[in-house]
Structures are given as structure tokens and as C-alpha cells.
Symmetry: C2
Subunit: 599 residues, 2 copies
């Protein structure tokens, strides 16, 4: 199988050597599993990705969904691929056996989804949204709702959406205007307008289950008055058969820069009598419930961004190994053959940067996925609590770090290709356009920075932040004793000290002046993210060194490459955001003090 | 006239207050000119840009040139706009009066072209390439070639191209294979394949004059064997009338990520008997001659990148002033009205970054344009020599700094727009796609870095580099004495000292090991570019302070904004590339030592 989605050595290295996910087979939930069953699922996903999803990735970019005769027309390859995903069971990879799932650990399920994303992020999105919406109903819905809505979603018969944004309310969700009026039969009538609803309408599934945020008539203002509703495109009868069309209308399609295969819609709820909706859980608890989905969605965004960066990197690497251009600087004879691009130091710099970003990003996302497993299924309540806290703390990083740096990797993949990279005849430009969405949706960089510095770092009196620091210090102290790794670990140690100082200073400012403390929250998040990824790179180097010393499963050059990439990251990338430590430590007021009329 | 191409206060500030271009009216060539004639041309260009070029910018992106029945079909708005450009005389803005031009200083002509670029970079390219090709023939062609080819180009009847790249030879121009065989009549027969030829075929002009790099049969290998030829699409008779079709065939169109309105072609020369070509200047001097055009083209790329960033910034600013979202962090009452985006510190950070990049980039390009005027038309030979040297030194910076940071500005403009920014219903995503070409064409970042560190810094024994440093130190020492500016000038002084140390260290390494010294040349160029732009920002702040103190022509808030943006640049942006000073000073070998199999 020829594929440019993943380096399978890298994936096995991260999962088994570094993160040791075989330990999850000790958890009662996963006791039937083994490394073999994990590998079988991963190999299947890679095969489905490479053979079924990748081939139409460019086609759906060039020939995006159209609105014709009141319907959304999508190329047939999309429904064919989604049918394969459903029939192989991959859509329900992490669901319970009793609900038709494979009951795989999150980290394996995420890996499988990631491979599909790397092959074709737009087609995968229909499935990904469905899985997330299904999980939300499984977590908060009644048994009846699970049976009527979630099970057909897990089976891939119904697809799902999340309907949050309204034309006037994006990040400011507390300001939504969609209304839900209670009816005598216990249902609600929903009316309002939603925008940027991915997969909001199509003919790919028997039904579409919209999860809609709306407000009850007597709801408190702001985020405390948001409730969550199931609003199906077609009503579902008691016996599971489809009833009549609900009052949900496609108002139009939005045309995006990339990610074009995923249709983005404007939906009107209740143009006639109000759309029938079913309240999920308690009234006014919608935001918290949606965050159950949103946090998963944020990790999904990070992983999608990584996989777009990863496939771009593999394409660039392949091109750089093949294409000949120029000669070494010291070669003065123009009649010698041209050398391969990969032999130029500047091209290697761009490849190393991509490697550092995408393999670093992948280690971050997979590490986060192991925290989901520990949080949900460890039998030790302390492990569960610790994992839940670390996951909460790291979610803004997992969402935004890859969105920024794996997008940068996509830009570098174009640059390695030169003029060819800028053409639609080569795939790297599409990866770049697709990836540009990721810093925006599911909470922009600005929102994530505020979440990290404003809430997460100080959550639980700062204990999860301290716990993360302790882990990082532990790795540093182990590596400081290694002659091969100490140069890198010392650079990380210095950066960690800087981050600690900055955090303390900003927490002090926050008490009196939160606006000032958070003014540079995005820049703080860049530093924090680089320290976390630097730590994971050091762990990768440490694991690779062990592999070299103990004759690990992978080639020597692979392990050496990991150590080199760690060196690259801590030397060439880590210093950049940390160069703003003074600005952060002083809670610099430049951006606060700039008045509108001075622009 | 409503336009989002330029802040006219900013333009007047840079041209008259900071760069004092009125001094050029003292040059004999420009003695008929005055600030009034400069302003008239600039106002005309802005009007033509806003009214004639901007309205079809999005149309030509959505409906790009097509290859139909052997011809390139381009929307009619393009030829209409180019006719206006020709008829207003703007195409020949800098040409001699006697050749039908306005004989305007380069800095004014570049400003005019820049305004058209900001309105519609793709349509402008047809004119821009023509002007550059025309200038090249004017500089190196015989009088007959000037009459037969260049004058109809200056008049906008013929358009021009530059045909350098071949499928196997992009950056490595010495490896081109196109051949030129001398004929008894003094002409040549050209045969070979060229790729990425912008405006390579169309029906917009009576004729297309290709400037083609090719090799004579006995030419030396490499760049020393390249000659330059005029190869018209239609032969031109002695009397200027058009003759038969030359043997130049359109082999196909290339489809780009952006810049779609400018058709990009593959051309075959000499599929039948060889295309008729005319040698320009001496044989084997083609590269040097083409660099006459290329250096102008590189400044043009920088300016185009600035103008794309600039229009994106003005769109983002407008949106941020209009769109309401969220509340101040300390506001706990969700029933208060939402505030405007521009009131959020993180949005102001993104707007300040854009302002710093695009106004900084504009000051860089306009400063470079004044050097062209001094170099060509000063009556003091010392001034001419100094200006020529500084321009050579700065050309790689002028080309690449805006290509990188004004592209980043376009990304920030998208981010300010949130989800809307990612849609093709708003213009900022197109600016971003258009601008992504600029780090590639006319020499990639990697090539520019090698040019700067490998040649330009040490050119003339380093005297132009020293001369630039002296100017920067002069500004710093003036500003160090000002209570309003000293904080900024001290930060620049520190960065300048770092750059000097790095430069010395790398020059020492270069003597023995040029490959090692140049391995990180791109990162060196980032530092150099930031110091140069930091200097120009300090000059802007200095000029603004003078304006504030002496009651200058512009509003107080405008001048204050300049001082704030300077502070932002030196505090928030300048430190980032300089954080790699150690890597550079040590001539770090990480990228050199990474072997292919370790990726």
C-alpha cells in the first residue's frame, strides 16, 4: 500500500514505545484487546484512508458541494467512502460492544480517525461530527434518545451536526437568539437562524440529527440560559422509522477557502411553526453539555491539523528526495550533475521544521488521547482525576498549537515544492487551505489563550499546572544525566523556568487587573505550547535513545532522526515565542493602550 | 471615493514627511515636477485602482482564465482595466517624455503601481511585466529594438513576459536547455520549453514580447552561457506593422492557488522550425541583463506583497470597528451590549501586528524606490554609487520581508474576521491566497538569504553594509536623546549589536566553510530584515514626533498611532528572529548534519 499519510514507524514508536498504550489492555474495559487488535484497527483505518478517502480528496475540492433544486449535491465518492467507514466498524471504534462498537481505547480510535483525516479531512468531517454528536447524546441523553437517535448515528445511518453559531454570535455564545418554546407533549418548538453549520444538509444519510443550542423563554441572560436540543431533520417515530420532515430549512451554502468537501450551511429553524426539538438533560445546562462535545471537537481539530501537516510533510519529503536542483555552494563546476533538494541545508531546515511540528503535534494529540482513556477508564480514582485535570489544562494547547504550527508546516511544504507547490496540480496547496480553518473553528486562538491563562492554569488552585510542571521537570532531570540529551534538556529547563516566572507574574496581575493580565494571553499560550511540545520532544528523544541502546524495533536512522528533530526543536523553534518573556512578565500594555482612532 | 487600498494619510506621511521626495524636483530629470504633479498621478492611480481594478478582483479569482479552442479566454474587465491604465498614461509613468512617458520619479511611479496592485494584483501583473520587459529593452536593446518592441510596450499596445524557468530548472537557471541557433540574417532560432510564464499567452494586446533566456550552441556551461533574446508572438515588420505568427505555442495553463487572474502558462518555443529571436546586447550576458529586470521585479514583488497585506489590514480594521462580539472580561452582566471587536486587546494585537507589517513594509519599499531615483538621476556620483550599493544590499530584504510578514498580515486579517474570514464571500481569504505566491517567485526565501549573506553583505568589502549600519546608528543616536523614543531606540540598538556580532561571526566562518556559514542564511535574513524594518519604524516614529511637536499636516491620533506601532514592532516582533542569534553565531550545524535517511 503506497500512502503519504503517516510514517508507520513513527506511529508505532509513539503509541507503543513512548506512550506504552499496551498498558490499557489492563483496564477492564479493554481487557479483550491486545497490541494485535489495536494494530489491526490502525492498519484497517490506514488502508481505508489511503484507498477510499485519499483518492477523492482533490476531486471534492475542485468540485465542491452545490445547492441545486433545494438539495445539496455532493460527489458520490463521499457517500461511498462513508459507507466503507461505517461498514468496517471504524465509525463506532470507541463505542461500547453492546452499541455495536469496537470498544477500542480513545487513543486507538483517535489514531484511526486521524489517519482518515490525513487522507481526506473534508469527507471525514461528516463522520467525525456524527461521532461527536453521538457521544454527546450517549453521555447526556435519556435511554430513549440514545435508542432513537444515538444508536442509528453509531451505526452510520444517521449523521450529526452541532448548531451553535448564529450570524451575530460566534465566540459570544451567550448572545444566541434561537428560542425553544415548551409544548404540552414535552417537546419544544425551536426557531432561529444558525450559520457555519458543517454538514448541515446533504443526502448522505437517512437522517441528520442537529444538536442545537437555544434559549427557553424564561432563561437567564448569557451562557447560563443556554439549553441543548436534539432537532432531527426528519422526525423519528417510536419504532425508529422516519416520520415527517421537521421545520429545518437550508437557507444557503457558504463557500470556504478550503475544507471545501465539507458543506457549510446556513440553517433556519422554525420558518413555519417551529422545529420539533427534544431537550437533552436539564434546561439551561446546554453550554456545559456542549462542552462535552466541544472538548472532544477541540482535540479533533488539533489532530486534524496535525494530520494535514503530516501528509504535507511526507509529500514535501518525497519531492525533496526526488527533485534535482542546483549544486553545493563550493561546487564551481556547472557541468556536475544537479543535487537533490534534500541535500540543500535550507531545504533540510524546512523539512526538519515540518518534522518537528507534525511529529511533535502528533505526540501531543496522542498523549491527550491517553489522558481521555485514563480519565474515563482507569480503576484508580486519583489517576482519573489527575488525567481529567491535565486534559482540561492541555485542551487549549492541543487545539491551537497544531492549528498554528502544522499550518506553518503546510506552508513550508509548499515552499519546498517551489513554484509547483503553488499550483493546484500538486496537493500541498490544498492541505494549506484546508488547514487554515483550524485556527478559527471550535474557538479561535484568542479564545483558547483566554481559556488557558484565564481559567485552566489556575484551575484547582493551580494543581494541574503544577502537576504538569512536575512531569516536565522529571523528564528534564532524567535527560540532564544523559550525555546525548543534556544539551537539549538544559535548553528546555531554561525555557520552563522562564514560563514559570511569566506565569507567576501574570497570576499576580490577574488578581487586580484581569484585562491587563489576559491582554497577551495568546502570546502566553504560544510559550506554554512550545514548552509542552518541547517536553514531548524530549520524551521522544529519550525513548529513541533507549531504542538505539537496546536495539529497538525500528531502524537506527529513525531513532537518530528523532534525537536530531528534538535538537532542532529546542534550538531553532523553542526560543522564538519565549523571546517575548519580558513583554509577558511586564504585562505589557501596548495592545491595551492602543486606541481605535490611532489605527 | 470609498476605497480600502491605502490610508492616504500614511502614504503622504511616508512620501513627504519621512522620505521628503519633494527633493527629487531638484534633480534635472524631474525639474518640471512638483508635489502637485506627484499627487495628481497618485490620486489618479488610486482612482483607477478603486474604480476600475478593484471591482473585478474577486470575479477573476472565481472565473479564472481558460484555455479554449487554442486561445486563452480572460474576462473582458481585464482588458478594459488595462486600457484605462494605458490611456491614463500610468503604464508609462516613469518613462521619458520623448517615449510618451510622464518622467515621474521611480518612487512616485512605484507608488502608483502599488495602488493598482493593492486593488487587483492579478490584472496589474499584465502591465507590471510589460513595464519591466520594456525597461529591460530600453536599457540593453538597440535603438531599432527600442522602436520596434519597447515603444509599443510603453504605449500599452504590446505586452511583455519574462521566460526564465524550465520544467527542470527553476532556481538553477544555469541549467536551462533552451537553445538559440544563429542564422545568416543575424536573427536566431529559439527552441525549448518554458514553464510558469505569467501572462504567456492571451488576447489582451496586439502582440506579446517574450524575453527569453537561452543558450548559444557554443556557450559555456552554467550561468555564464546564458543569452537574452526578444521573441515576439507575432513578428514585427520594419514599419512596425505585425507580420506572421512566430513559432511559440501555448502548451497549457497552470492552475494556481491564488493570483488566478494572471494566467500562468507553459510555452513551447520552436516546435516547428524554431522561433525567431533577436539577441539583446552581447551573447552570454543574459543573466546580468535579466537581473536588471529581476531586481526591479524583486522590488515589485515586495511592493505587491505589502499592498495585499495593506488592503487586508484595512478590511480587517473596518470589520473590527463594525462587528460587535463579546464583552470586557470584567463585565459580568450579560445584558450589557456587546462591544466592538476593536475593543478586545487580542484583536488590537492582531491589528497592530498588521499595521506594523504593512506600514513597515511600505516604508521599506518606498525607501528602496528613492534609492533607484538617487542611483539613476542624482548629479552627485558619490550619491549614485552609495544608493546603488544600498539598493543592491537591500534588494533581498525588500523582496522577502514583505513576502513573509505581509502574508502573515493577511492571515491575521482572516483571523480578525473569524469564520467569515475563511469564506470566499469576504475578500481577505483571496488576499492570503494571492500573497502566498510572493515567497516563491523571483527567487525563493532560500535564494534571497543566500544572496544577502553570501554576496551582498560582503560586497565592496562590506562597505555598503557598513554604510547602512551607520545610517541606522545615526537614527538610534538621535532617538536615544528623545524621552518619547528612547525606549524603542534602545531596543533597536541592542538588536543591531546582535546582528553585527552575528554577521562578523558568520563572515569568519564563510572564509573556510561557506556551506556551513550559509546553512542558516534564511534565518540570518529574518534578523537582518527585522533590524532594517525596525530602523524604518524608528524613523517613522521620529517623523511622527516631529509632526506632533510642530503641528504637522495630519491628525494627532495618526502621529500617535505611528509611535505606538513602532513600540509594538520593537517590543513584540523584533525579538523573535533575534532569539536565534546563538544558533546563527555558532553557525549551528543541526540542519547540515541531518542526513536524508533520518527524516
Amino acid at each position: 500500500m503506497s500512502q503519504k499519510i503517516i510514517n508507520t514507524d513513527d506511529l508505532a514508536f509513539l503509541l507503543y514505545e513512548m506512550l506504552d498504550i499496551e498498558r490499557f489492555t489492563q483496564f477492564p474495559r479493554y481487557e479483550d484487546h491486545s497490541r494485535d487488535t489495536f494494530d489491526a484497527a490502525i492498519e484497517l483505518a490506514l488502508k481505508v484512508g489511503a484507498e477510499t478517502f485519499a483518492p477523492h480528496n482533490h476531486l471534492c475540492d475542485a468540485d465542491e458541494p452545490r445547492f441545486e433544486n433545494g438539495k445539496v449535491v455532493i460527489r458520490k465518492e463521499v457517500s461511498e467512502a462513508l459507507a466503507v467507514l461505517r461498514d468496517t466498524g471504524l465509525m463506532a471504534a470507541s463505542q461500547d460492544y453492546e452499541r455495536g462498537g469496537m470498544q477500542l481505547p480513545s487513543v486507538v480510535a483517535q489514531t484511526c480517525i486521524g489517519l482518515i483525516k490525513g487522507a481526506n479531512v473534508s469527507t471525514q468531517a461528516y463522520a467525525g461530527l456524527t461521532i461527536a454528536a453521538c457521544n454527546l447524546i450517549m453521555a447526556h441523553g435519556t435511554d430513549e434518545y440514545k435508542r432513537r437517535f444515538a444508536e442509528p448515528m453509531a451505526a452510520g445511518r444517521f449523521f450529526g451536526t452541532m448548531c451553535l453559531t448564529e450570524p451575530h454570535a460566534g465566540s459570544s455564545l451567550g448572545d444566541i437568539k434561537t428560542r425553544a418554546v415548551p409544548q404540552d407533549d414535552g417537546t419544544y418548538r425551536i426557531s432561529g437562524n444558525k450559520i457555519f453549520i458543517s454538514a448541515g444538509d446533504h443526502e448522505l444519510s437517512e437522517n441528520i440529527v442537529h444538536l442545537v443550542l437555544a434559549k427557553l423563554p424564561d432563561a437567564p441572560a448569557g451562557v447560563k440560559g443556554i439549553s441543548l436540543f436534539i432537532v432531527p431533520k426528519f422526525l423519528v417515530n417510536e419504532d425508529g422509522s422516519l416520520g415527517e420532515r421537521n421545520d429545518v430549512t437550508l437557507a444557503g451554502l457558504i463557500h470556504k477557502m478550503g475544507y471545501r468537501g465539507t458543506t457549510s450551511t446556513m440553517l433556519n429553524f422554525g420558518e413555519k411553526d417551529g422545529a420539533v426539538g427534544y431537550l437533552v438533560g436539564e434546561a439551561n445546562m446546554g453550554l456545559a453539555q456542549m462542552f462535552h462535545m466541544m472538548n472532544e471537537a477541540r482535540i479533533g481539530v488539533g489532530l486534524g491539523s496535525v494530520m494535514l501537516g503530516y501528509t504535507g510533510y511526507l509529500h514535501a519529503l518525497d519531492y525533496a528526495r526526488d527533485r534535482r536542483q542546483g549544486r553545493p555552494l563550493k561546487e564551481r563546476n556547472p557541468e556536475t550533475p544537479m543535487i537533490r533538494l534534500v541535500e540543500h541545508a535550507d531545504v533540510r531546515r524546512m523539512l526538519l521544521a515540518q518534522k518537528a511540528f507534525v511529529e511533535g503535534g502528533l505526540s501531543l494529540c496522542l498523549y491527550a488521547a491517553t489522558l481521555i482513556d485514563e480519565k474515563k477508564h482507569s480503576d484508580d480514582p486519583l489517576v482519573r482525576e489527575e488525567a481529567a485535570g491535565l486534559l482540561d489544562l492541555l485542551t487549549p494547547i492541543v487545539k491551537s498549537w497544531p492549528s498554528q504550527f502544522c499550518l506553518e508546516a503546510n506552508s513550508l511544504a509548499i515552499q519546498v515544492h517551489g513554484g509547483y507547490g503553488y499550483t493546484r496540480e500538486y496537493p500541498v496547496e490544498q492541505f494549506y487551505r484546508d488547514n487554515r480553518l483550524n485556527p478559527i473553528h471550535e474557538g479561535t486562538h484568542g479564545i483558547q489563550g483566554q481559556d488557558l491563562l484565564g481559567r485552566k492554569v489556575s484551575m484547582g488552585g493551580g494543581r494541574f499546572y503544577q502537576s504538569l510542571l512536575k512531569q516536565i521537570r522529571q523528564t528534564i532531570s532524567e535527560c540532564n544525566r544523559s550525555s546525548e540529551l543534556s544539551a537539549s534538556s538544559e535548553l528546555l529547563e531554561e525555557a520552563l523556568g522562564t514560563l514559570e516566572g511569566v506565569t507567576e507574574a501574570l497570576q499576580a496581575v490577574k488578581k487586580d487587573d484581569p484585562d491587563r493580565a489576559l491582554a497577551n494571553a495568546y502570546l502566553y499560550m504560544e510559550c506554554f505550547g512550545h514548552v509542552v511540545v518541547g517536553w514531548l520532544w524530549l520524551r521522544q528523544a529519550q525513548t529513541a535513545l533507549r531504542g538505539l541502546q537496546n536495539g529497538g524495533e525500528r531502524p537506527k536512522a529513525f531513532y537518530e532522526g528523532k534525537i536530531k528533530a528534538c535538537e532542532y526543536f529546542v534550538r531553532y523553534e523553542l526560543p522564538k515565542p519565549l523571546a517575548l518573556a519580558n513583554v509577558l512578565r511586564d504585562a505589557d500594555r501596548t495592545t491595551l493602550d492602543m486606541s481605535d482612532e490611532c489605527f
